[in-house]
């Protein structure tokens, strides 16, 4: 059973629907005990980074940290990926999980002398896909996925794929059982469904 964490950051309907479509059993929850027992955990989320403050209030941060430590596969989507970092300049007072170092930052207003529109909305390509990524197994470089966001995570050794927009940013991050995607796999057609299928079919 996959625990899909509901922290009132947007609509979970699409994520749950897509997970079920690729064969997962899901449980939408705010209960740390349910998260602790789950085979896998998905943290979706759209909107403001500050919404993740509720995870701490509901003691879900600790539950996730413990679950990750014992090896439970975790997938953060969009703001759910950003939460895996130390934080975001969008809400400097709100701590992330610190599974990955550094902060998420806003897209620059200009890039290479040209104005850069933000939010970054639409279909963009996955590049530099790490060969050992389990989450992105079978995904070809250049495959398109759907984005809608204004903040982005920095590129590091844990980056599993990048996307170019105002320079490269982390499209997917993966270290062991901790994974995240900045794009919306539930809205990214066959490519996105393959990513979710890879996660659902991971051996625990």
């Amino acid at each position: 059973m996959i625990a899909v964490i509901d922290y009132k950051a947007g609509n979970l309907t699409s994520v749950v629907k897509a997970l079920k479509f690729v064969g997962a059993e899901t449980c939408v929850t705010q209960d740390p005990a349910v998260v602790a027992q789950a085979e896998k955990i998905v943290l979706p989320g759209v909107g403001h980074f500050q919404a993740t403050e509720l995870l701490k209030t509901l003691k879900l941060t600790e539950a996730v940290r413990d679950a990750i430590a014992k090896g439970t596969p975790f997938l953060g989507i969009c703001v759910g990926l950003q939460w895996l970092y130390e934080g975001s300049t969008e809400a400097p007072e709100t701590d992330g999980l610190c599974a990955f170092s550094k902060q998420c930052e806003r897209f620059p207003a200009t890039y290479n002398g040209a104005e850069l529109k933000s939010p970054h909305v639409g279909w963009n390509s996955l590049e530099n896909i790490r060969q050992d990524s389990r989450l992105l197994r079978g995904i070809m470089p250049g495959s398109f996925v759907y984005y809608t966001h204004s903040w982005r995570a920095p590129v590091s050794a844990d980056t599993a794929a990048t996307t170019p927009y105002g320079g490269d940013f982390t499209a997917a991050v993966e270290r062991g059982n901790v994974m995240g995607v900045q794009f919306h796999p539930e809205k990214s057609s066959v490519v996105g469904l393959q990513v979710l299928r890879n996660f659902v079919e991971l051996a625990c």
């Binding site: 309907t13 629907k17 759209v46 529109k117 933000s118 970054h120 279909w123 963009n124 966001h149 927009y165």
Partner: protein
Amino acid sequence: MLTKRIIACLDVRGGRVVKGIQFVDIIDAGDPAELAHRHAAAGADEIVLLDITATHEGRGTLIDTVQRTARTLFVPFTVGGGIRSADDAAAVFDAGADKVSINSSAVARPELIGEIGSSFGAQAVIVAIDARRAANSNDPVRDAEVFVSGGRMPTGRKVLDWAREAEDRGAGEILLTSMDTDGMRNGFDCALTAMVSEAVQIPVIASGGAGTAQHFVDVFSHGANGGKADAALAASIFHFGVTDSRVLKEELQRAGIPMRLPC
């Protein structure tokens, strides 16, 4: 590279698509769920479903239609028509929509933009603007006016001001329909689209006037006379020679417009 989006629009009345999208000369073009899936498979980047009756009695049918359409649709899905409150929007989101498009109701009560955005995120709110050039102005484009109620009622508001206000209030995207070019098949209003696109940071979806693939090239172009649009709505073009999104996108790709081609 970020691609330009082709958005397939389905006009729905009483649970049926009423404007033919993929077939010539068909008034009742079929089942919304089936057509949405066909468009997605052919490479449409998003699907918009507009309830063109939007009557109180029709809401139940609409929710049912949205549910059936969303069930196995895995591209962004927008629903518009008759959404007057945050509760109306919530019902549509619960049924599986990813975004709502609001028009007259947002002009009447601009707070609605923020109300929906605060619960569902700015990315979920598209403000649709029906625009007409100001015929008697020295600068008909800059002074273009917002119309509501399906284009029947002038508001006295300038498109430029309203687009900026919508952005400030938290709209995620602007869907800009030119009433001057709509249905004419002579091309989008590129000057109007470029003006709005330059005035706001959020994406602008161009609508109205598509007749050929070249019209899409023009509205996506960032050149001097280009529309600088981030996305374009395709509806009636599929009546006239271009059979589906795949064919359209291949033509645009050849013309140098970045496109997501379906696998």
